[in-house]
């Protein structure tokens, strides 16, 4: 029989004494309970007292009776775990939120509390310690994609002492930035800036550049990835990085057919090129001066800020020093990026025209120029809305942003999730934007979501910090509060690898034995069964519920706990 110690948290005296008394009466009849004491709150002094008491009584299971378990879990995280033994040997009876506060009267509350306390004791009796493990992490990172994300992450990591393998599919580095003329929010030419970065990259001894090359296989999990890189010469190199950053970028597709094929229909990036080659005072197109330029935004990428930023940047120059008349047609102009509101005002002051459309604008050829007809809906009253027609020398179109062709293949190779549009999906759009669904694999840049360069750089920095946070300790320590497959029962049905949201399970025909499972089995024992990588498992238990052979248990949350809570034990 387990020996259990009970600490009743009076929550600074807010639990009524009559209520507490009833609980103590209940506890008196439970043989497992060695002692029950009251504490007003949990501070470091309380911890010291608790420690002494536990040692003195020789108790190794603790039930805290009081508020929500979430309360204690956060306190303990902050103050450190107060008990002298394994942190998994304590449990909480929530008698405040889910009893005292949510009942009609104190009698009902006491009933609920009694039930909660007795369940907690039963759970405590069957608690088992859960060990933790440490996975050494070498300071080695693989970055896929030599665009600006990949380059800047590589530089940050290398400066912090991490060895980086940078794999780029193309012959040239820089990705989409090679098509960029300048930054929108600082006076900086992109070309020179990029060259500087690439130079720095090539000179850094900690960065190994593999280009042109691509990832051929990936095996293993965080800390023990085995990546096979294939160069265009057909050579294979296998490296074993601790973490991986995917920064493979996106591709664009321009609208084709009919008038869209006309030479006066250019894309934003073609315009960017034209401007970078233009010497003031005037831009020329095929030898003739360009006087009117019309931008069409939001017809393909409605939720992406990049087009608004580039159009604004270009129009400031065109309307300003190059003396053109610029019109921007959009559904909504996105000014949420750094300094964009100010630049927008400046553009209006310079005389850039903005039109808001709902119906797609119509294009026609008039005397070699392109006539744009658009119904302006920026005026609220419908009757005041009129159609505008603009004769333009150039119409600038935005390109559709699409996932790179290799994204699909890469997602299968890396076992990463794709979002609805086929870009890589972040693990949590609010909190964990740069983490993929797999521990140890991060996503950065346009392969997740196309963004403007300064935002991309910002995000690249975030990725680098995350990687550094992971690798700087040299090891990753984790509790074995994870799913575990019983190889004897496993039917090799592949259900769990398919349902695992974090791709933490693989069927390993000849895997090393789960080291946390059995110490007495000689190392390098081979078997065929599904295997959970404990460092990659998040402990959600989805696989447990799915396994047709019931071969999987969640070590920190076995069936038993659930049956006890359901009131079905014994």
């Amino acid at each position: 029989m387990a020996r259990i110690g009970i600490f009743i948290d009076t929550l600074k005296g807010t639990l009524p004494s009559s209520f507490r008394e009833r609980i103590r009466t209940t506890l008196r009849d439970v043989p497992e309970v060695v002692f029950s004491v009251e504490e007003d709150e949990f501070t470091s002094e309380t911890f010291e007292r608790m420690l002494k008491l536990l040692e003195h009584e020789g108790v190794e299971r603790v039930v805290i009776v009081g508020g929500s378990p979430k309360l204690y879990e956060t306190t303990f995280q902050k103050l450190g775990f107060p008990l002298p033994f394994n942190p998994y040997l304590f449990t909480v009876a929530n008698i405040r939120e889910q009893a005292l506060w949510s009942s009609i009267d104190e009698r009902e509350a006491s009933e609920k509390a009694k039930n909660a306390v007795l369940k907690a004791i039963r759970i405590a009796s069957s608690l088992r310690p859960i060990e933790s493990q440490t996975l050494p992490l070498k300071p080695e990172v693989l970055i896929l994609g030599g665009g600006i994300s990949g380059i800047s992450i590589a530089l940050t990591l290398a400066r912090a002492g991490i060895y980086v393998f940078l794999v780029e599919r193309e012959r040239t580095l820089g990705g989409k930035v090679t098509e960029l003329w300048k930054f929108y929010n600082q006076e900086l030419e992109a070309k020179g800036w990029l060259e500087q970065k690439i130079l720095e990259l090539r000179q850094n001894p900690r960065i190994s550049l593999l280009a042109p090359a691509r990832l051929k296989y990936l095996r293993g999990h965080m800390g023990r990835f085995q990546a096979t890189i294939l160069t265009d010469k057909g050579e294979e190199t296998t490296i074993s990085p601790s973490a991986i950053v995917v920064a493979t970028g996106y591709r664009v597709e321009r609208k084709r057919g009919g008038i869209y094929d006309h030479k006066r229909m250019v894309t934003l990036s073609e315009m960017e090129k034209l401007l970078s080659e233009t010497n003031p005072p005037f831009p020329f197109f095929e030898g003739k001066r360009v006087e009117t330029v019309t931008y069409l935004l939001d017809d393909t990428n409605e939720d992406i800020k990049l087009d608004s930023i580039n159009a604004l940047k270009q129009s400031l120059l065109l309307q300003g020093s190059l003396k053109c008349q610029v019109a921007i047609l959009c559904k909504e102009f996105k000014v949420s990026s750094d300094r964009m509101e100010r630049l927008y005002r400046k553009a209006r002051e310079l005389g850039v025209l903005f039109f808001k459309y709902e119906e797609a604008p119509r294009f026609s050829l008039v005397n070699g120029q392109i006539q744009v007809e658009v119904k302006d809906t920026s005026i609220l009253r419908k009757e005041d809305q009129w159609s505008v027609s603009i004769l333009s020398d150039l119409v600038v179109l935005c390109e559709t942003f699409l996932p790179h062709q290799e994204t699909m293949e890469l997602s299968a190779l890396l076992r990463l999730h794709l979002g609805k549009r086929g870009f890589f999906m972040e693990d949590n759009p609010q909190l964990l934007r740069v983490r993929s669904n797999r521990r140890g694999i991060f996503i950065a840049g346009g392969c997740r979501f196309p963004q403007e360069i300064s935002e991309t750089l910002f995000e690249a920095n975030a990725v680098a910090q995350e990687v550094l946070a992971l690798l700087s300790k040299g090891a990753y320590t984790y509790d074995l509060s994870v799913a575990e497959v019983d190889p004897k029962k496993c039917a090799l049905c592949y259900t769990c690898p398919r349902v695992c949201p974090h791709s933490a399970i693989e069927v390993e025909k000849y895997a090393e034995k789960n080291v946390y499972l059995t110490h007495h089995v000689p190392e390098n024992t081979k078997w065929g069964a599904a295997k959970v990588d404990p460092a990659s498992c998040f402990g959600c238990g989805i696989c447990v519920g799915e396994c047709p052979a019931r071969a999987i248990t969640l070590r920190h949350y076995p069936d038993e706990f659930i049956y006890i809570q359901m009131g079905l034990d014994g």
């Binding site: 929500s68 378990p69 979430k70 929530n94 405040r96 939120e97 889910q98 009893a99 005292l100 506060w101 949510s102 009942s103 009609i104 009902e108 009933e111 609920k112 039930n115 999730h417 693990d427 949590n428 669904n437 349902v499 949201p501 974090h502 998040f538 402990g539 959600c540 238990g541 989805i542 447990v544 519920g545 799915e546 969640l554 949350y557 659930i562 049956y563 809570q565 359901m566 009131g567 079905l568």
Partner: protein, 138 residues
Amino acid sequence: MVDFDPKIIAFCCDQSGYPSADMAGSLRLNIPKNVEMVRVPCAGRVEALYLLKALEKGADGVVLFACYEENCQYLRGNLRARGRLSYIHRLMEKIGLEKERIEICYLATNSGVKLVETLQRKTEELKRLGPNPCSEGK
């Protein structure tokens, strides 16, 4: 209508159901007394078997509190739970048990009111349906 106190087993996802129950307490809302709260790390941890066992071993109804779609911390736990429930619903139909005895309810972390309303409504519904005729004890 039979006058009895229906027993409900409520599986609470640790990201939505459980904090919502705490929230309900903080708001001093009354959680019906015959409810067994079962804290699970994710709705995806709730096996189909638990749902049936609950009914077999004495519950009159079961509520599965999961996160809203696309809101699961583990990406698809709520969807897997929904799938399992639909399987159990089919089985219940064959057994001759009312499907309404088990339902899934989607919550956010702070849906205390919705949780309590659901449990109260379920209690009323179960009172109308009467005691679970398949449970062992009865």
